[in-house]
């Protein structure tokens, strides 16, 4: 009989990270990764803040010449890009990474190595973008990079490429993180934590991650098309050759507006965590808050045109986007009412964390109200692109995200470090930030109404703008002081702060059930959850049954069902590995090659990525990765899919979104074209051979399905034959496509039609190549007898991908080959 202490020792040995430099690189512990995200994100916050201070200094008086226009433009571009992409999203991911497994009672994320990979990608992408400073080619076109200004003709040099490639690079991390959060939350919750008992923070991370999956592809597509225009002379955004600069604006804002909520939603989750703890009662209107989060994200995908009210779209068509934008006031109202009602019905206790949350409520109210104003078309025509919008967006993003973030620091840093922050310094931190923020940003409402446009490096003096700008600058310095106070507080309390203990706030959620800081394995015994506030239940938490030999012999956590969180399996989690860091470095080589237009480096980068991913995914020899069913009965009731399958399905969903956006771009440019479509000189593509290719590709799904069904019954030979036959079909499809390319009368550089045709078909062709590579790996592994009836997740995943590649071709075929006949 093992004692609890000896189990904990064995768990520590099993889960602990090697205490040397190698361990620092190889760790997959979600807590280390989360804290790294937070620390790195904070460094970028300081950099973005210094950029803002430099700008505010230049604007303190009219006509100052501390810097020229080019420098100023680089600063506001990097300020916006840094704050949105390198600070807000990653630092919230950091809190999600650290807290989600703890809050749901798991021992790590569903894909710990993918998690490590995401962090390395983020930090390398951030460094990549910031290398534009020493390279003296800082991007200067704002975080929105409107074409044609950002095109090759008006922005030569590599500045724009640092920006565009950096964002695509970073998108890999965001997408990987989103998939990981969704699968973790869906499959790894402690037994009994049904979805109506999930902490609101977890709900908001889930909703945010889903939004990321569908929003990031739009940025990736927009950026990729821009790079193609810049590099090889395609015409997606070229109005003179059938393209349209407004296509960029549509794609960018289809990403950009949901992104506001991607930043705001996790902060809402933080507020919903902190409010009930300091109101000392359970959350009022939990259901309303969940519905509000979902509604906000859904609506946020339908409002992008409100960034384009002044581009010349007919006012009648703008009405629907105006209405949708105003609708967001309703979920926001639900959130506001739930928070205030909880405070009202509770017995509020003050602390710095709560102070920041109350500050947030006031500031977000202001930002929300001005948000409804700018959703009105005639109002927006007056204030868009003026300082009024600068004020509005900072009330929403600084008030709505940075204030909750600082509340979260005071609330959760004690969990991470084991020591409380100082409350008196905390009050000074809050007071300077609240006063400084309002001093900096409230006057901007007025300067905007008076006619001060955004993104100007100087302005003529002699009017009210002089004083208003001076006030804004003073406020900015006060905010900087506030951040200095915070850093001093962190430094002081890291050594001298009062010990926090497991639960310093008498809080309600599971992260407070384990030590501060938590052990490497989070929970020695995974708790069973019986309510929304498990720590406010009477009596101690009960532990889920886990066989001791599993618990102490390998890294594992409980897999539970998606809705009810009923125990299904014991999930094996992989150990620390160098592969994620190496794979991220390989991606850096690839992007550096693209930046420098150095094709050999690109090729080496691709080869390195393939090699490192292969090393990463190749099964380790000693223990088979088998999921042990918790008990046969549970498995029979809920035969649900493994986390790996969920991961692949989500990857396919985000990939499908990219195809949908490309096809939408085709239909958009086709339907707004002034002349014929395809344009004069570009023949409609011939149809006979493509029909043959289509049939080959679709038919090849049959042997894949046959192979998958075969291995499920343990028939290895059938698996092998099915894979080889399918591969022949896929190769036949590619041969047809290559032949068509060679015979085509137009090129990607001919006009926007040619650009679309070749980009869409070759993007799909690349998917077919990847599918063939994957099938090749399966064939290799099948000959090494890696698969049997129980163990063939890789086969399921590749089959899913193969079917997807076929299904998406049906849409491409219909759009590119059949639609031109009907469109006009």
């Amino acid at each position: 009989m093992q004692t609890a202490a000896s189990i904990e020792r064995q768990l520590e040995r099993l889960w602990g990270t090697a205490p040397d430099e190698a361990g620092w690189v190889t760790t997959t512990d979600h807590k280390s990764i989360g804290m790294r995200y937070i620390a790195t994100g904070f460094i970028f916050f300081v950099l973005g803040g210094l950029e803002a201070l430099a700008m505010r200094t230049q604007l303190a008086r009219p006509g100052l010449e501390l810097m020229d226009g080019a420098t100023y433009n680089g600063l506001f571009t990097m300020h916006g890009t840094t704050m949105i992409f390198l600070f807000a999203t990653p630092i919230l991911s950091g809190f999600g990474n650290y807290l989600v497994p703890l809050m749901i009672g798991a021992r790590d994320m569903a894909f710990p190595r993918l998690n490590a990979f995401g962090y390395w990608i983020f930090v390398l992408a951030g460094i990549f973008m910031y290398l534009s400073f020493p390279a003296s080619s800082v991007p200067q076109n704002g975080w929105f990079a409107y074409v044609p200004l950002s095109g090759a003709a008006h922005s030569p040099g590599t500045g724009m490429d640092f920006w565009t490639l950096g964002l695509v690079f970073l998108g890999i991390a965001t997408t990987a993180g989103a998939i990981n959060f969704i699968v973790t939350i869906a499959k790894l919750r402690a037994p009994g934590m049904s979805i109506d008992r999930m902490p609101l923070f977890v709900w908001n991370i889930l909703v945010t991650a889903i939004a990321m999956l569908f929003a990031i592809p739009s940025l990736t597509v927009a950026a990729a098309l821009l790079e193609l225009d810049r590099y090889i002379g395609t015409h997606f955004y070229d109005g003179a050759a059938g393209g349209d600069p407004l296509l960029w604006q549509h794609l960018f804002w289809i990403f950009g507006h949901p992104d506001v909520y991607i930043i705001f939603m996790p902060a809402v989750g933080m507020v919903s965590s902190i409010v009930p703890v300091f109101a000392r009662r359970t959350m009022v209107g939990y259901t309303a808050l969940v519905v509000a989060s979902i509604a906000t994200i859904v609506i946020s995908f339908g409002v992008w045109v409100h960034h384009m009210f002044a581009v010349g779209i007919a006012a009648q068509a703008l009405g629907i986007f105006s209405a949708a934008s105003m609708l967001i006031a309703i979920p926001a109202g639900l959130q506001m009412a739930a928070w205030i009602a909880t405070i009202w019905a509770g017995r509020p206790v003050w602390s710095t964390a709560f102070l920041f949350v109350v500050g947030f409520l006031v500031l977000f109210l202001v930002g929300g109200l001005t948000g409804v104003m700018v959703a009105s078309v005639p109002f927006d025509w007056q204030v868009t692109d003026s300082y009024f919008v600068v004020a509005h967006l900072h009330y929403v993003l600084f008030g709505g995200m940075v204030f909750p973030l600082f509340g979260a620091f005071y609330y959760w840093l004690p969990k991470m470090t084991g020591r409380l922050l100082d409350e008196r310094l905390g009050v000074a931190n809050f007071a300077t930030m609240f006063v400084g923020f309002n001093l900096a940003f409230f006057p901007m409402h007025i300067s905007g109404m008076l006619g001060m446009p955004r993104r100007v490096y100087t302005y003529p003096g002699g009017g009210a703008l002089d004083l208003l700008n001076l006030l804004s600058t003073l406020g900015a310095y006060l905010i900087a002081l506030s951040v200095v106070i915070f850093l001093a507080n962190v430094a002081w309390s890291a050594r001298r702060g009062a010990l926090a203990g497991a639960d310093p706030w008498s809080a309600n959620t599971l992260e407070w059930a384990t030590a501060s800081p938590p052990p490497a394995y989070d929970f020695a015994r995974i708790p069973v959850v019986r309510s929304r506030d498990p720590l406010w239940e009477r009596g101690p938490l009960s532990a889920a049954p886990e066989p001791k030999e599993l618990l102490t012999s390998r890294r594992e956590t409980l897999g539970t069902s998606v809705v009810e969180a009923a125990t299904e399996t014991f999930l094996r989690l992989p150990g620390d590995s160098l592969a994620p860091a190496l794979a991220a470095a390989a991606v850096l080589v690839l992007f550096a090659g693209l930046l420098l237009k150095f094709l050999i480096a690109v090729a080496i980068g691709v080869a390195l990525v393939v090699a490192t991913v292969a090393v990463w995914l190749w099964p380790s020899r000693e223990t088979p990765r088998r999921h042990v069913p918790a008990d046969r009965a549970a498995r029979a009731i809920a035969p649900s899919r493994a986390p790996g399958w969920w991961g692949m399905a989500l990857l396919v969903a985000t990939d499908a979104t990219m195809f949908a956006l490309l096809l939408s771009s085709y239909l958009y440019l086709g339907s707004t074209a002034s002349g014929a479509w395809p344009p004069q000189g570009s023949e409609r593509p011939a149809i006979a051979m493509p029909i043959l290719g289509t049939l080959l590709l679709l038919a090849s799904s049959v042997p894949i399905a046959w192979a998958e069904a075969g291995i499920a019954r343990g028939e290895r030979r059938r698996l092998l034959y099915g894979l080889v036959i399918a591969a022949l079909g896929g190769a036949g499809f590619l041969a047809v496509q290559v032949r068509e390319y060679l015979q085509q009368t137009f090129a990607p550089q001919t006009d926007a039609y040619g650009s679309l045709f070749f980009t869409i078909t070759s993007f799909h062709g690349a998917h077919v190549v990847v599918a063939l590579l994957l099938v090749g790996v399966l064939v290799l592994r099948a000959t090494k007898r890696h698969f049997d009836a129980e163990r063939h997740l890789a086969v399921q995943n590749v089959a899913l991908y193969w079917h997807f590649v076929g299904a998406v071709w049906v849409f491409i075929f219909a759009t590119l080959y059949l639609a031109p006949g009907v469109m006009r």
Binding site: D68, P245, A310, I330, L334, W344, G346
Partner: protein, 297 residues
């Protein structure tokens, strides 16, 4: 936005209503928050479904009604702005990095738009390069100016005066100095101004004649037009009546003889990154050029 003209004054009541409504909601919510934060001895006993009903009422139903009312008011204001009308005057506006060109048929001017008071002016906007946005805060909301397509907007000034305008879409390194002035004047004054702007330059004499030779012999001629001379390039502002205008460099300097001389001596000092190069003129050449350009009224 003081509402000195057509559109801006049309929306003024709507803007006032907007701020009044927002102020009311702000006060009500902050008051609710203050009440909620009062210290109390024990928490309220509030059943979950009753709590949810309170949230749905104050957080869902009340905002829904307010937003619906605001949307209707916004639609009415939009309709009043976009009503079809006939133009009293049409002007072609061409936005360039970083200046404005206004074409009244044959009369071509830069950075200074003259309109008759009280009349409906149609602006046909198009860009020669990147996306810009035309904004005269006191007269009208913004309309973006794009290459390869023409946007239309309306402008009218209810009273005579000079109104500042800016480019409000970021358009590159000198976006800050892409300003303009709208001069609203009585019909008669406007017509005599327009007639003058349509004429060729007055032939220079004395030092000014020397200045014209300097102009035509240097880089100036490869970008600018002065009607009546061989200079006919359209990359940069038409200078035929430069001396009648009040701005230099799209607002970076006022147009006087001394500032004109400074500007010609070193435009990159005042507007770094602008497309006007330093022409490396001698002092004597500068004096002649200033005399010439200053005579172009």
């Amino acid at each position: 936005m003081s509402g000195a003209g057509g559109a801006a004054s049309t929306v003024t009541p709507f803007v006032v209503l907007t701020f009044a409504l927002a102020g009311l909601v702000f006060a009500a919510v902050v008051a609710g928050l203050a009440i909620a934060l009062r210290p109390r001895a024990a928490p309220l006993a509030l059943a979950e479904d009753r709590g949810l009903r309170i949230v749905l009422l104050f957080g869902g139903a009340v905002p829904a009604v307010l937003v619906a009312a605001f949307f209707v008011a916004s639609l009415v204001a939009t309709a009043s702005l976009t009503a079809t009308r006939t133009a009293d005057l049409s002007v072609d506006v061409v936005a360039h990095q970083w200046w404005w060109e206004f074409r009244y048929g044959g009369a071509v001017v830069a950075n200074e738009l003259h309109v008759p008071v009280g009349e409906r002016v149609e602006l046909r906007l198009r860009s020669a390069d990147v996306i810009h946005s035309f904004w005269v805060p006191e007269l009208q909301g913004k309309t973006d100016v794009l290459p390869d397509r023409t946007n239309t907007m309306w402008l009218s000034a209810a009273r005579a005066g000079r109104f500042d305008g800016v480019c409000s879409e970021f358009c590159g390194v000198q976006h800050a100095w892409m300003r303009l002035i709208v001069v609203a004047e009585p019909r008669g004054e406007f017509e005599s101004w327009l007639a003058r702007q349509g004429e060729e330059r007055r032939p220079p004499s004395g030092g000014a004649a020397e200045g014209e030779r300097v102009f035509l012999a240097h880089v100036c001629v490869s970008c600018h037009t002065i009607r009546g001379t061989p200079a006919a390039a359209t990359i940069a502002p038409d200078l035929t009546h430069l001396a009648t205008r009040s701005l230099l460099g799209a607002g970076v300097l006022p147009n006087r003889r001394d500032t004109l001389r400074d500007w010609l001596a070193d435009p990159q000092h005042f507007k770094p990154g602008s497309l006007m190069p330093n022409a490396s003129l001698t002092d004597a050449e500068l004096d002649a050029l200033v005399a010439y350009l200053g005579s172009l009224d």
